[in-house]
Subunit: 356 residues, 2 copies
């Protein structure tokens, strides 16, 4: 690791630390285990915005009673291929595990399993859930709604979340993992540029009049994020439309909160009632040889003639796969600020600090 | 109709004309009926790129034997909730009708119906298929792969289609209909600007080195379309990722052609072997009151404070709904060039011209 701001941490030690901290806040062992796994996987993939730096919010939610670390999700309605689940305000990682396991089980027989959840919480990196199905040789898809931060086309107020879409497909050792917010960039990226005083690209966010701006200050204070596509002329209404699609499947269908009715971050003890969608598709029930064809598709894309200045054509998930391989060999990279924050959490919860 | 370049045509007369022309090329009555309905619906919605101006290509495909106007699609494999269909090279509209009807039927009992097709042809406006489920009180989704015209991020050659995503949700009289290509704009839009010699926005297309350009000439000759998001800095890799997701579900899963293996337009008598996905979700099997909540969601979005210079906040499908209402009242608007082209088709096929 060349970057001196990062330390490599043993993945197992990091998981155990997360479990200790979560259980000290009243999380059951089962909920703590899957939550730790979710967070560490994100750091392994280099998606640090959804990694252990979220532990602070998670432990606060548990301490305030905004999330219930001992709840058990319940199936509200069910068919052979579909289900609606009430997460009962358990940790998002636990609701996600319950739902995707159910979708996979249904897909084994029916070719498709489609499960939606209400009463859930932040479920981390959407790709994690899609990859759960991928590991079973299935196509996995997952989406979640989230706190309002995207300003719809034509509006001047944030009213819908970053509402990510994830899709993972198996291809022997060579999968495809799409995991994307429906905004141009995540809020964290604008905060990062703001702290450094660096200018940002046009099409990332708008000010409080709904006008696209390159002033990160105006985006963060009173403005909001652009949908994928940016302004209307470059297709911004499509990103907004995708966010509405995600919220229709996650929030409206399940009976969860949706759009501007979702609470903001750090809203105290109010439960989030986030909605999520989990889909598993079993290729064996459709047409034999799926993984061979998927590998061919990936290879065709990677083998395309390069654009001027480009060094490679990637398939979604390629960069994260490389980072995961490296993290599993050398340890999980964590910013020193994050390590410090974890130690503060340890001290305040009176649990053993992270083993470096 | 203020625009003198457009004429209003009676919808029923236009449908009957399409049926006459298609049947003169060997299309069965059943295939001709659904194809006519698909094309006229697109013109009603103002999506003229997918309207009756496609009739020329459709009739040519039938005459060359590239599509089979008398074939019957077959179910290759099936469960209670899913199916894989071989379209047998029938017209795309006929394969689409077969597949979405099957998905709706499965969703009635199972909550979800998920059907993929191979051996299909161009199936017009993706939203048409999603709206078929919407009319039954269900959420409809549909996607299709298509001829390569998008240049993947980092590449310098078109290798994947515009691969649209459609999602329609019912809300009493107030539905949401998302129907979007995963490119920033359709090819037709760049051709339109090119003919007029007008400059285009950055982020629509690239030249033959894969570099974003505002020169429509370079995009049309040797270049290609940008994925939604444009350049990498503004999230172009997300639009490319969405296009791969669509092709994974449509092409790779069904056993159809995918990515750069799909033939280009007007490729003579080669059959297209296009792949498509059709999904119906029956909200009654999940959580009661879906349409009330969906209407509330739409209303919340439309009621947002406006951006500077904006006159309204829309929900996906609002503009097309207005155009449809107008077309049903006053007639379907057709460009005079299109009317002329239809009359040429009539003469060459020796069928009665369009009734004006």
């Amino acid at each position: 690791m060349e970057n001196p701001d990062f330390k490599r941490i043993d993945g197992q030690a990091l998981r155990q630390f997360c479990v200790r901290a979560l259980m000290a806040c009243g999380c059951s062992q089962k909920q703590a285990d899957v939550t730790a796994d979710l967070l560490v996987s994100a750091d392994e993939r280099g998606v640090h915005s959804h990694g252990v730096n979220r532990l602070e919010i998670y432990t606060q939610d548990l301490q305030l009673g905004a999330a219930d670390g001992s709840a058990e999700p319940e199936i509200v309605s069910e068919t052979a291929a579909a289900a609606c689940v009430n997460g009962k305000n358990a940790m998002g990682a636990y609701v996600g595990t319950f739902c995707m396991d159910l979708a996979i089980q249904k897909a084994r027989e029916q070719g498709i399993g489609f499960v939606v959840a209400r009463g859930s919480n932040h479920y981390g990196m959407a790709g994690f859930w899609a990859m759960k199905a991928q590991k079973e040789g299935m196509i996995g898809m997952s989406m979640t709604n989230s706190s309002p931060c995207m300003v719809p086309t034509g509006a001047s107020r944030a009213a819908i979340g970053t509402n990510p879409i994830a899709c993972a497909a198996p291809a022997h050792e060579d999968g495809m993992v799409l995991d994307m917010a429906t905004t141009t960039v995540p809020l964290g990226k604008i905060e990062f540029y703001h702290r450094q005083g660096k200018p940002i690209a046009s099409g990332w966010g708008v000010d409080n009049t709904g006008t696209v701006t390159t002033d990160s200050e105006k985006i963060l204070f009173g403005g909001g994020l652009c949908p994928l596509g940016g302004e209307a002329a470059t297709g911004g209404y499509k990103g907004y439309g995708l966010a509405m699609m995600v919220d229709t499947l996650c929030g409206v269908l399940s009976g969860a909160a949706f759009g501007p009715t979702i609470k903001g971050w750090r809203a105290g003890r109010t439960s989030a009632n986030v909605g999520q969608m989990f889909m598993a598709i079993n290729p064996d029930k459709f047409c034999p040889g799926f993984e061979d064809r998927m590998h061919e598709f990936n290879s065709l894309m990677r083998g395309l003639p390069l654009a001027q200045g480009a060094t490679e054509v990637l398939v979604p998930g390629d960069p994260e796969k490389r980072k995961t391989d490296e993290a599993r060999e050398k340890g999980v990279p964590l910013h020193t600020n994050v390590v410090e924050a974890l130690n503060k959490i340890a001290d305040s919860l009176q649990v053993e600090r992270l083993q470096l």
